[in-house]
């Protein structure tokens, strides 16, 4: 066909002119948050990542956010209004935004959407998650090594797969350095109630727990541990300033790593609607610097396993793994697939609660 080269040239020119047009004005990136950016936890971390990428990309992008958008009737309107107002890329950062995002995306094919923690994609909707459980495993290794009562406490919000994965990974990690360790879980049924998080932590300390961690928003658990003189392991961000003596390390999130990639892809014109699940390897999750109290051999061991996970030599959920009832769930030499991890609803042996 003679036309083909011509078409290709036209397409290239068109593509170039579109691209150069896009260069004229910054890429507009919108974020939709479920809680206020001042929640000190989930949304706070996403917004911190937003500020980091805004700084990095300079005048190539323009970012904005809408906070405290309730899942349900309000979220669809907010996502749609952002779409209608010329935002090119929209991040929706809560599970409950999944269906509204997909619904709005059908109406705005030129806008690109990225939904956090869900499982559906569409022509212009990708989704992203962080393998927080990998960092949890490393944090668990540290906690296990530091426990002398062999009892570790875990304050958790809701038994959804994301939280269960974290508890399981943490427990497996703790057992890797301390085979006799038990993890006690207390559910508080809310993401954000600092006083209740603190009470839950104290109730665990009463049960002879000497290391604490949590899957809730605030650093209240770290403060409780500091006040009572037991160790703690943080989550979301490095919380060592809330517990200089107690805070051993933390499973930290670096959402900016994902945002950086996605924004760059849109700028380059290579964005695709993918479901990505990044972890230690990509730098989305990590462990915070260790407390002086953590002995050298533990730090070394954790760093070794970290490299093994990054290199793919070690998986967090590799067999043999038993459930609470003592049944073999993952055979020796096998590991849980991503599909199984997404739906994870059982607890590994050694978890109490």
């Amino acid at each position: 066909m003679k036309l083909t080269p011509l078409l290709a040239l036209t397409a290239a020119l068109l593509g170039w002119s579109l691209a150069s047009q896009a260069d004229d004005k910054p890429l507009k990136v919108g974020f939709v948050y479920v809680s206020p950016i001042g929640d000190a936890g989930w949304t706070y971390m996403h917004d911190r990542a937003r500020k980091i990428v805004e700084e990095e990309f300079g005048d190539k992008i323009e970012t904005n956010y809408v906070e405290s958008v309730a899942e349900g009737a309000d979220s669809e309107r907010v996502i749609r209004n952002l779409s209608a107002r010329g935002y090119d890329l929209i991040f929706t950062t809560s599970f409950g935004y999944m269906n509204p995002t997909l619904k709005v995306a059908r109406r705005f094919p030129q806008v690109k959407y990225e939904h956090a923690t869900g499982y559906k994609t569409a022509r212009n909707v990708g989704n992203y998650q962080a393998r927080a459980y990998q960092a949890r495993y490393l944090a668990g290794m540290t906690a296990g090594a530091m426990s002398s009562t062999n009892q570790i406490g875990y304050v958790a919000a809701f038994p959804i797969p994301e939280v269960i994965r974290g508890i399981n990974a943490f427990t497996l990690g703790a057992q890797a350095t301390n085979p006799n360790v038990k993890v006690k879980v207390v559910w508080i049924n809310t993401w954000h109630d600092p006083a209740k998080e603190r009470e839950a932590a104290d109730s665990l300390i009463l049960q002879n727990v000497d290391v604490l961690t949590m899957h809730t928003d605030s650093p209240a658990v770290i403060q409780a541990a500091e006040a009572r003189g037991v160790y703690s392991v943080g989550f979301n961000s490095d919380m060592s300033h809330y517990g200089p003596k107690s805070h051993l390390t933390a499973a930290v999130m670096h959402w900016e790593s994902i945002y950086r990639d996605k924004i760059q892809a849109v700028l380059d014109g290579t964005w695709e609607p993918k479901a990505i699940w990044h972890g230690l390897k990509e730098g989305v999750v990590d462990v915070a610097p260790f407390n002086e109290a953590v002995p050298e051999w533990v730090v070394e061991k954790v760093n070794t396993v970290k490299m093994q996970i990054i290199n793919g030599e070690h998986a967090v959920f590799e067999g043999p793994i038993y459930n609470q009832a003592g049944e073999l769930m993952v055979k020796e030499g096998e590991q849980l697939s991503d599909e199984e991890l997404i739906e994870l609803e059982w607890y590994v042996k050694g978890i109490d609660g």
Binding site: G72, N81, F95
Partner: protein, 358 residues
């Protein structure tokens, strides 16, 4: 300067005071925005005008207004009779729970009667919840402000228990929310492009109903008598207990319909944060609307607009949500405060033995 009671409520002020409140809000709001480094006029425009620039904006306003207005119609009658039902929130939430459970039960069942049954279940559930307060008021003489507030807390916890427990979506990965309702259990949309459902017409119809009730029936008079003195009603020759029951059950039914308009409308499932405080917001609507049917329509539109405007201000100006909250609170203070002028007047100077003027 002092405040003096008028002999008659001022008709001029009925219309003038909300305008005064708006002017004050615009003025103070402008100052607030300017002080925080945001262009005052543009900010105000984005709050009040931008959300309504297109049909979609109007349709979203209607979506917001529907549950507010339904709750407010019931409360208007109650408040006229000085029955302080603060429980629309609880009635809403309890009705959502029951209506949601019924909707989930009817997932597999088809039939023209499905939607009416769901609406009815919501209304009945709202009535049942309000009925508790009515029973406590008429038989035990307990203060309805207090009992309805307690019932709100209980209802919210029941809903939370429902979505964390028996009504949780079995295929929902343990997220605290119910399964999505089946398509045929949802209220019909007026247009596929927008989210407005037939519930808007139900709400507007109910506004007309209370208008007629208040203007053209004995009820309006009876409510006023009851409002003057709960015990005097007996002497006026009617059963105040029966009217208290009617008022609370009616407002419960309205809150119940509001709940269905939301769960089986734009939300489409049961979630923990279902109500967003519609029951409480409706109280503000009723006072802003001066307990007049037309007034509550305007007031619910204004309140709905500030919600939409708050989102717009975040999108367009990067105003944080906290500032929109400050602005909303200020607006409400002005609107509530300016009501004073209807029943009272400001006297600038003491006039010794002056001729009374109006």
């Amino acid at each position: 300067m002092r405040i003096e009671k008028r002999l008659q409520p001022s008709q001029t002020m009925v219309y003038l005071s909300p305008i005064l409140a708006l002017v004050l809000t615009v003025f103070a709001g402008g100052l607030l925005f300017a002080a925080l480094g945001h262009p005052p006029l543009e900010s105000l425009a984005i709050f009040f005008i931008e959300p309504l620039r297109d049909t979609y904006g109007w349709s979203e306003l209607a979506v917001k207004v529907t549950p507010l207005l339904l709750c407010a119609t019931g409360l208007t009658l109650c408040f006229k009779a000085k029955i302080w039902n603060i429980g629309a929130e609880g009635q809403f939430v309890f009705a959502a729970l029951i209506g949601g459970a019924v909707s989930l039960q009817l997932t597999e069942v088809q039939g023209f009667w499905v939607l009416p049954v769901i609406l009815l279940s919501g209304a009945l559930a709202g009535m049942a919840w309000a009925g508790i307060a009515a029973l406590l008021l008429t038989h035990f003489n307990t203060n309805e402000i207090l009992t309805t507030i307690m019932l709100n807390y209980i209802a919210v916890n029941l809903l939370l228990w429902g979505v964390h427990g028996p009504l949780k979506d079995p295929a929902g990965f343990n997220f605290p929310e119910s399964a999505l309702f089946a398509e045929h259990t949802l209220l019909p949309l007026l247009s596929f492009d927008y989210r407005v459902t037939v519930a808007l017409f139900i709400a507007l119809f109910m506004v007309v109903v209370i208008w007629v009730l208040l203007a053209r029936s004995l009820l309006g008079f009876q409510l006023r008598v009851l409002g003057e003195n709960r015990n005097a009603a007996r002497f006026a020759g009617f059963n105040s207990r029966a009217i208290i029951w009617f008022l609370l059950l009616f407002s419960g039914a309205m809150a119940g319909l509001a709940a269905i308009s939301e769960t089986n409308g734009p939300v489409g499932q049961l979630i923990p944060t279902l109500s967003l405080g519609y029951g409480y917001a409706a109280i503000i609507v009723v006072f802003m609307g001066r307990m007049h049917p037309l007034g509550i329509v305007l007031a619910s539109m204004l309140l709905g607009l500030t919600y939409l405007g708050g989102e717009m201000a975040q999108i367009d100006l990067g105003l944080p949500k906290s500032i929109t909250g400050l602005f909303q609170g200020m607006l409400l203070f002005f609107l509530l405060g300016c009501d004073l002028l209807i029943h009272y007047r400001l006297v600038l100077k003491e006039r010794a033995f002056g001729v009374a003027t109006t």
